[in-house]
Amino acid sequence: MPFPALEVIRKVAGEPLPELPDGSPNIAMGIRPIKEFVKPYWLASEPDVSVSLGAGVKARLQYAIDSQGHFDWAALMGTFSNGPVMLYLFDANSNRFLSNKPVHSTTICGSGQRYFRLPCPYFFNVGDSQREFQIFAENAVPGVGTTVVSIVPFGRRFYHKEMPPQMAAEILRDYDCIMKEYPYLLVPEDYDFRGVPPVLAANAKTQFEFEMDDSADLECSKLLFASTGAFTFTLREKDKDRLLMADLVHSSEGWGNAEFPVYLMDSFLLQRKRQLIMEITDLSGAPNYIFATIAGIRSQYR
C-alpha cells in the first residue's frame, strides 16, 4: 500500500499540542516524514532498453538496482513492436524464478495506461550493494516475426541511505515479515519448457493441469490468457473433483489479460502439490494456441 501524504500530528517535541480554547485536544495534519524518501521508480534493462528478437531468438534482459535505495516492485509494462514474446522472470541474487515456466507477455505486461499489478509487491533489499533482476525473453510464440521488445518493471524506491536510521531500520523490519510471500505465476505443466502450449485442434477437447510445487502454496487471484481463438472451459480441483463453475464458461467470461485481468471474487488457495484441472473445448474451428496464466501470491508459510 502506498503511504498517505498526510498524517495526524498530536505532539510536537514530545509534548502534546496546546489544548484548544474550549479545552478539547488539539491535532494538526502534517506531511508524513517518510514521503520525502520514497519516490516512484522504473527499472530499465541495460545496456539497451529495447531488444530486437527474431523468430525463435532468446535474450536476457538485465536490470541493475543500484545501492541508492531498496526497490519495491509493484507493476510490469512492456512495448512490443510486432507481437508478443515469452517471458521468464528471475531474481538473480535470490536465484529465484517467479513462475514455473515462461509466461506469455500479454498475460503479464500492461501499458502505462493499464499496467499489470503484481498480486503483491516484490521487495528488493539492496543493502549496501546492488541487486540484479533478469527477464529471459524468447520469441517463441507461434506466428510472430521479428519484434522489438521493451519490458519495464515499475514500483517505488526507498532511499534508505538518506533516511533517519530508525526509519530505515523500521522498513527492513516490516519487510522481513513478508519475505515468505511473493508474487508468482503458474502455467500448466502440459506446456513445453518455453511455456508454449500444445496446439488444440479445431473443435477438439483437451485438458491442462496447473500444479503447485511442493514448497509453497499459491493464493490465486487473477486469471490471464492469450489465445488464437475462443474456447469454453471448466476449472476443477483434482483432489476433490470439485468444479469452480456450474457448467462450461466462455473464455471471454473467465479470462482476462495483463491490462484487464479477471479477478477472482475470492482468492483461491492452491495448496502445495495440488492440481487444478482446466478442461477446454475449442470454439474457433481452427487450430488454437491457448496460453493460460494464473497469478497469485506464493506463500511459504506452513
Binding site: 502506498p2 503511504f3 501524504a5 498526510l6 498524517e7 500530528i9 498530536r10 505532539k11 510536537v12 517535541a13 514530545g14 499540542l17 494538526a28 495534519m29 502534517g30 506531511i31 508524513r32 516524514p33 517518510i34 514521503k35 520525502e36 520514497v38 519516490k39 516512484p40 521508480y41 522504473w42 527499472l43 530499465a44 541495460e46 532498453v49 529495447s50 541493475a64 541508492q68 519495491d72 509493484a74 507493476a75 509494462m77 512492456g78 512495448t79 500479454t106 505486461c109 500492461g110 501499458s111 502505462g112 495506461q113 493499464r114 499496467y115 521493451s150 519495464v152 515499475f154 514500483g155 517505488r156 524506491r157 533517519p164 526509519m167 489479460n257 495483463a258 491490462e259 484487464f260 475470492d266
Partner: protein, 335 residues
Amino acid sequence: MSTLKIPRLTRQVTIKDYIPGQPIPELIRDPRNGRVLVNPLKKYVKPYTLSIAPSTITLAADGEPTDFIPMPLDGKGPFEVMQAFFKSQRAEGFTVQLFDPEHNPILMNREIHVGTIASGGGTGTNYEVFGAVGSAGRPFIWPETFFMNERWAGKCLFAVFRNLSTSSNLIRFALHGQKWYHMQATPSVAERMTAIYRDRLRTMPFFYTTDQYMRLSSLGDQEWTVRFTDEAWTEWSKSMIVRDDAFNVQILETVSRKAYMPQPLPDSTVFGSGEFPFLNWESAVYEPDFQLSFRSVNPLAETIDVWLTLGCRKIFPDPQDAVLLQPGKSPGVTQ
C-alpha cells in the same frame, strides 16, 4: 457482532460522514452508541455537472485562445469537482486553462491539453481500443477534489480554450462532482458542511505541465523542466500525455540529478491518457519550488509535439504552525 469480518458479508459501516474524493456514505455509525443512521448529509448532497455556457462552442481555426468562457455557478451551495469530460469535433483536440472569478489562473501552471485532464478522446492500450463514444464510463478522476465553497457561490469559473486543429472545432467541456445544498439544509447539517469545506482549504488539485512548450527536435536529446509553485507542497500522483508520436523519456530531479529510471524509457510506460492515466503506485511529495526534469529522446527524424501533464495536489502549510509540515522537523512525529 461477528468477529470473522468476512469480506463483503460483514457490513463495515463507517463513522465518517464525509470521505474526501468519495461519494457521501449513505449509512454511518453513530460513534456514541454504535447505531447505524442515514447520513444527514446525504439528503443535501447531489451529483452535479457544471458545463460551459453555452454548452457547445465553436473554436475558430486561427489557433488563438478564446475569450473567458463562463461556467456559471448558482448560489445554492458549494460544488466539489471530481471529474472532467470533453467532446471535440476534431481529433487534435484543444487546450484548456481555468480561471477564478477574478480571472486569476487556478488549477494549472499554463494551458494544458484537454485530453490529459479530462475523458472524451478515446484511447488505445496495448491490447484494447476504446472509442470516444462511451468514454464517460472511463472518467478522468482528479487527483484531489476541488471544493468551490461559498466564495464562489453565484459567481463563475472561467475557461479559456485554444483550438489545436487547423479547422474550426465544435467542443464541449464539463466538470462533474457533487453539489452541497447547504442553503436548503437544516442548520446543523449546514454547519457541518461549512466545517467540511473549511477543512478542505489546505489541499487542492493542480495540473503541472512543462514550463516551456514541448516540441521535440528531430533525433534530439532535450531536457524540459516542471517547476512546482512556491506556496505549497506538491504531491504528484498521475501522469498523462498527448503526443504526435512515440519517444523515450527519463525523469530526474533537476538539482540532485536523482533519476527515477536509469535511462530513457518508452513514453507509453511512463505516461497514460485522460481515460487511463498512469498512476504512481507511490505518490511523490515535493517541497515548495521543487523542480523536475523530463529528458526526452526523439528516435525519429521529425519533430514531435508533446503535451505532458502531471496530476498533483497542492498541500498548503498549516497557517497555525508551518513547522508541522516539514518532514524531519516535526518532533512529534519522528521522536
